[in-house]
Amino acid sequence: MLVRLAFAASMVASIALVVLYLRGGERTAEGVLLGVALGGLGLGITVWATRLMDPPEVEEAREPLASPDGKSLVDMLRDEEDVTRRVVLVRMLLGAAGTLVAALAIPTLSLGPAPGSDLGRTKWRRGLRAVGADGRAVRPLDIPLEGVRTIFPEGFAGEPDSQAVVIRVAPGLLELEGRRAEWAPEDCVAYSKICTHAGCPVGLYRSAAHELLCPCHQSTFDVLRGAVPLFGPAVRPLPQLPLAVDEEGYLVALSDFTEAAGPSYWNIERSDEL
């Protein structure tokens, strides 16, 4: 009958599984054989239970859940006068237990340092050259026209909190306001690569639209106008990295970002200039 077939198939599959394993194993076969081994046994048992058994429907009474009135736990706790009469001691016991819990919990603070001032700050400093992930300094013409490069401060190549993107846009297109216009030498404009929404690297540059798109939640930033968000959940623009070109023609930072880089937090300094 079906049950016997099912059990037999299961046995065969289990043995085949052992043989397969000893001979090197193969993922598809492992899964299928395991499935037959388990499923054959399960099918046999199920068919047995549903077709071969026909147990009667039985009735069982539900007893009330609450304890019958009379001696109860509450009474037992309350009746013990050695405990309940000594009110002051009970209160002090609870107080001591509470403070003990607090004391035992305090080592959780060892889990990590306090945030301090490095939240939102990066390793960019005045005079540090912009280098690629390979550590080599970047010149404006190293970036193809309408191309994008990921840059780091010299000496900190690969440092995640300092990651930035520099884009060489076609001449005459940048519309940066105020002193920001002076931060983009030879049409090379640089922004923090850390999205101000949830911190994903903003690696997607649409060259015809001149927009940076963060792939995580589709925040879109206007590269020509200071990475102001155009769409999506990001509220703060990507901070712009003040760049200049040094005597040897390499891109160099004028300072750290003037606003916090990365996602917002409760006491983030808001910049008035936009």
Binding site: Y21, G24, G25, R27, T28, E30, G31, V32, L34, G35, V36, L38, G39, G42, I45, T46, W48, A49, M53, P55, E57, V58, E59, E60, A61, R62, L65, L111, G112, P113, A114, P115, D118, A133, G158, P160, Q163, H197, A198, G199, C200, P201, L204, P215, C216, H217, Q218, P229, F231, G232, P233, A234, V235, R236, P263, S264, Y265, W266, N267, I268
Partner: protein, 451 residues
């Protein structure tokens, strides 16, 4: 042998009494068992994986058979996952079964919870078990998140970044919490070992404890049952545990494991070798978390750019969709039995279930809530939908922004109406009257029969 045990432990009468317990026989009562058995598969495959995984973010050089990554510096954790996948016999199938089981685990909990909700099984005296269940759901989510972050690959690392930013966004305590949890500013080497401890020790211990409580309460209170002939509030009608229920459950357990085994062997899941090792300066798209976190991802994507300042305190854009939403949602979910009691003033004990149609308001609200979560989950894949249908992702986003507000209301109302109409046996919601019987009144007019 049983006598041998009984002479030492005295379990004979206890076991006999237990095996004679009556359980009502309805297919929907087995949905929770899918979750339970999936958990067993997770335990078994998980133990295997634990023996090979290295919870260590220290960089090593990959030197295994996956060519594109040979010579690349990766974390020891990532390397151990690649080694398990490509160099350990049965490693890849175990890993894939484990991950498929995780997806099915949360799905089966949701289906089971929906059954409990729509049949009113959470009502007194089962409010405590409902709370335990909500706790289990949250734990399952945390297990999934910590688990898929362990390989330290590009996709899951991006998810960790977003989780870190969600923590940071909490006013006043956010940055402290984030630094405590991660051990410093993202990315840290310390997070992987911590996730491992949570995933392998702390959360499973809690899960096992709560599952035990869940089942113990169920046995103590006896299972609920649907109304029917011979079924009252003060009895349980069904089949005894032994032999039929034991056999059925065992069969179901093996069949569940069989389905997961076949999936693990045939369908690829989480190919971390293609994503590459985590690098905080790059990201791959589309970037989604596992499906059960998709609703949060969708909320974060849909929430408009809103970052107000209240008394000088910035409320970051991520805070409301990323922290407040799940907090409110799970709080409401947990408190539901008490909220319903408050509104309906129904303090009675209930052991008989309601069909969804018997309580149209609850059904409507539940349907609306499910629609809300489902729409958010779909919204989490807005860029995938954009690619699939060749529609700009901005349009998809706007569609979902409106859908998430309108859909639950419409869906909830439709569910409410359908349930109510089914219950009242009234004219079917979308049907027509078949025609009327008329009779003449003494005054010469016409009137309907039966009016």
């Amino acid at each position: 042998m049983i006598r041998w045990i009984d002479r030492r432990l005295g379990v004979d009468s206890w076991a006999r009494k237990g095996l004679r317990k009556v359980f009502p026989d309805h297919w929907s009562f087995l949905l929770g068992e899918i979750a339970l058995f999936t958990f067993l598969v997770l335990l078994a495959t998980g133990i295997f994986l634990t023996l090979f995984y290295r919870p260590d973010a220290t960089p090593v050089v990959y030197d295994g058979p996956y060519e594109p990554l040979r010579g690349r510096e990766v974390s020891a954790a990532y390397e151990s996952v690649l080694r398990l996948s490509f160099q350990v016999r049965a490693g890849l199938v175990m890993r894939q079964i484990h991950h498929w089981a995780a997806l099915v685990f949360v799905a089966s909990i949701v289906v089971h919870a929906a059954r409990v909700f729509f049949t009113g099984a959470f009502r007194r005296p089962r409010e405590v078990n409902w709370l335990v269940g909500v706790g289990l759901l949250v734990l399952a989510l945390m297990m999934g998140f910590t688990g898929y972050s362990l390989p330290d690959d590009l996709l899951s690392g991006t998810g960790l970044r977003i989780a870190y930013s969600a923590l940071i966004s909490i006013p006043f305590i956010g940055p402290y919490l984030a630094y405590l949890a991660f051990g410093g500013e993202f990315p840290t080497h310390g997070i992987i070992p911590r996730l491992f401890v949570m995933h392998v020790m702390l959360f499973p211990a809690l899960l096992i404890a709560l599952i035990t409580a869940h089942l113990a309460i169920l046995v103590q209170q006896k299972h609920t049952q649907f109304p029917g002939p011979g079924r009252r509030e003060d009895n349980v009608v069904g089949k005894r545990l032994w032999p039929s229920q034991v056999f059925k459950s065992t069969g179901l357990m093996l069949l569940t494991a069989a389905v997961l085994a076949v999936m693990g062997g045939l369908v690829q899941i989480n190919p971390v070798w293609t994503y590459g090792p985590f690098d905080a300066t790059i990201v791959s798209a589309p970037a989604q978390p596992d499906w059960y976190m998709g609703w949060l991802e969708g909320a974060i994507r849909l929430f408009p750019p809103f970052e107000p300042q209240i008394f000088g305190v910035t409320i970051p854009a991520m805070f409301i969709p990323g922290v407040v939403l799940p907090g409110v949602f799970f709080t409401l979910l947990a408190l539901w039995p008490f909220l319903e009691q408050r509104v309906t003033r129904d303090m009675a004990e209930h052991h008989l279930l309601e069909r969804p149609r018997d309580n149209p308001v609850r059904t409507g609200i539940g349907a609306g809530a499910l629609a809300f979560v489902a729409i958010l989950t779909l919204a989490g894949g807005n860029d995938v939908l954009a690619l699939m249908f060749n529609i700009p992702v901005e349009a998809i986003t706007w569609f979902f922004r409106i859908a998430v507000l309108v859909g639950p209301v419409v869906g909830g109302y439709v569910a409410y109406r359908i349930a109510r109409d089914l219950r009242d046996g009234a004219t079917p919601a979308f049907g027509r009257k078949r025609g009327v019987m008329l009779r003449r009144t003494p005054g010469g007019g016409y009137e309907e029969e039966g009016s």
